[in-house]
């Protein structure tokens, strides 16, 4: 008897929490279809805000910047992080504690501290040398810096999970180191490479604070555009653009669920 009330109470808390988690997102989606420019009263269903979205050049530019930033920083981070991950594995018996600390640093650092230290550094270097003008370039550098640890850790843990004798076998099979990389290393850690790339990509797309502080006047990403629109109080299209982003996340969630299912089979 008592057990049943406990289970019911737990279920109640679960549903209330779920409601709490989804209500703000639901409100955004709902009001993106509102014909009136209001977040309090829903007038009629309309797609007007979406139509305006695609005429807004700033939003299209911001979307392009987000994509360029995410793809290019992920590629650079993948190459560098992969090398570190392999180096950490190959030399794991050496004392590389300092390297681990160095690598974990961007994960532990509060992103506001990371963002402003990058910004202050870039501004100072720019004042001295004229290099590193704030813009997509500086944003890519900052993003690569916080993506490297995640890539390195994923690749490292994949290598640790492998049977060490595989490396001996590869050495016997392929004489040249290059062939060993192409025919053995890359294929065996391919899943790790793919998931590291997607994680870097997501981290970059999702980031606001670090991008905000390292951006130049021309390089606003989507979150930065949304931020400044909210700050200026010009919000009608924000619901529509936010809905599209929520939709992308929902799609990613469904895909990851399907992948998980397949992986377990």
């Amino acid at each position: 008897m008592r057990k049943r009330t406990l289970t019911r109470g737990l279920a109640g808390i679960w549903w209330v929490t779920l409601f709490f988690l989804y209500v703000p997102l639901f409100v955004i989606v709902l009001f993106s279809f509102n014909s009136a420019n209001s977040t309090a009263i829903f007038e009629r269903f309309s797609l007007a805000w979406y139509r305006r979205l695609f005429d807004n050049e700033q939003i299209i530019n911001a979307f392009g910047n987000s994509l360029v930033l995410a793809v290019s920083s992920s590629i650079v981070a993948l190459v560098i992080g992969c090398l570190i991950g392999y180096g950490m594995y190959r030399h794991r018996h050496r004392k590389l504690g300092w390297l681990i600390v160095l690598i974990y640093l961007p994960i532990v650092l509060p992103d506001i501290v990371f963002g402003i230290s990058e910004m202050a550094f870039f501004v100072q270097i720019h004042a001295w040398t004229g290099l590193l003008q704030p813009g997509l370039g500086t944003m890519i550098i900052a993003h690569v810096t916080f993506q490297i640890p995640f890539v390195a850790l994923i690749v490292y843990s994949r290598f640790v999970g492998l049977d060490p004798t595989l490396f001996e076998a590869a050495k016997d099979l392929y004489a040249s180191p290059l062939k060993r990389v192409v025919h053995f290393m890359v294929p065996t850690i391919k899943p790790a490479l793919i998931s590291a790339f997607f994680l870097s990509f997501t981290l970059s797309i999702d980031d606001f604070v670090i991008s905000f502080f390292t951006a130049g006047p021309e390089s606003a990403t989507l979150p930065i555009y949304i931020w400044s629109a909210i700050k200026k109080g010009v919000t009608p299209e924000i619901n529509a653009i936010a809905t599209l982003m929520i939709g992308a996340v929902a799609l990613a969630a469904v895909l990851s669920m399907l992948f998980n299912r397949q992986g377990r089979r």
């Binding site: 929490t17 779920l18 703000p24 009001f31 160095l102 990371f114 550094f121 999702d206």
Partner: protein
């Protein structure tokens, strides 16, 4: 081919290993050194410099920015910055406590469900946090603004002044923090609950019967590693939060993150901002260190990786 001595062979192996280390680890180590260690060191140096006319740091070295952080300015002592510090601590404390209170039953509920449903339920908890945090805060702005049903309700109950709205306020910031960090507590707690030894709980129930005591003596110690991991994941980023207080808090809801950021934007006082950043770093390291110590003493040295 010449027969080489074992010594020479070994030396060549060492050289090749070192070269390998250089090629694999060096590019990343150099990158992180230039773009992470140098900027952090520079920022720490800036904290001890003097504020120049354009907000850029200048010599001579001084502790002026730390004094200003404690409230001492040109016009004598004022509590503004100290209030911001205390508010950051208070918000972190309250939101972490609330997150723990909500996350315990939620994580436990998921473990009571059928095994095939559990990953889906966990995903349902995590998915909202995949949306950009600016968008999530904007959702709460929509919900709590003046004239919305929630604000009208609070108004009718006399909780807020007429036509005030629940946002911007400290309450909105707490709510936003709880909303933002809840998944980070549910995941490690769920991991702890899944490994829970139910025999202990049953024994406790047989002996004490009181559910609160059963929880305290049989469940709580077993989930402590998860709780600690969750607290690190929630409290440290909450203390340095920038977006949520900026959007939901208004002028009276400012936290340390906003104080720091403002010094690099409108107010232009880099040394003061850098001093605030150092404070944040100290808090981060104290938090990590304390958790590690407590975790080790309890023998639950498990690391939870998300």
């Amino acid at each position: 081919m010449l027969q080489s001595s074992p010594m020479a062979w070994r030396r060549r192996a060492v050289v090749s290993e070192t070269r390998h280390l250089l090629f694999s680890v060096a590019p990343g180590a150099v990158w992180i050194f230039i773009f992470l260690v140098l900027p952090s060191a520079y920022l720490m140096g800036v904290a001890f410099m003097t504020n120049g006319p354009y907000g850029l740091p200048q010599m001579p070295l001084s502790l002026a920015s730390f004094e200003r952080l404690a409230g001492f300015g040109f016009l004598g002592w004022s509590p503004g910055n100290l209030y911001t510090l205390l508010r950051s601590l208070w918000q972190t404390l309250v939101s972490t406590a609330l997150v723990v209170i909500i996350a315990y039953p939620v994580a436990y509920y998921i473990t009571t469900c059928r095994e095939k449903w559990r990953p889906i339920l966990l995903l349902l908890v995590v998915v909202p946090s995949w949306t950009n945090q600016v968008i999530r805060a904007f959702g709460w702005m929509n919900l709590l603004a003046p004239g919305t049903p929630l604000s009208d309700l609070a108004d009718a109950l006399g909780l807020i002044g007429p036509h005030m709205g629940l946002y911007p306020s400290n309450f909105a910031v707490t709510l936003g923090l709880v909303y933002n960090f809840l998944p980070f507590m549910v995941l490690p707690l769920y991991a702890a609950f899944e490994k829970l030894d139910t025999a202990q709980v049953e024994a406790a129930q047989d002996l004490y019967a009181n559910p609160i005591r059963a929880f305290w003596h049989a469940v709580f110690p077993q989930t402590l590693p998860g709780l600690l991991a969750g607290t690190v994941l929630v409290a440290i980023p909450a203390f340095g939060m920038y977006v949520i207080p900026e959007l939901l808090g208004g002028g009276k809801g400012m936290m340390l993150g906003n104080l720091v950021a403002n010094q690099f934007a409108e107010s232009s006082n880099w040394p003061l901002g850098a001093a605030g950043a150092i404070l944040m770093l100290i808090a981060t390291f104290i938090g990590l260190f304390a958790m590690r110590r407590i975790g080790k003493r309890l023998g639950g040295g498990e690391e939870v990786v998300i």
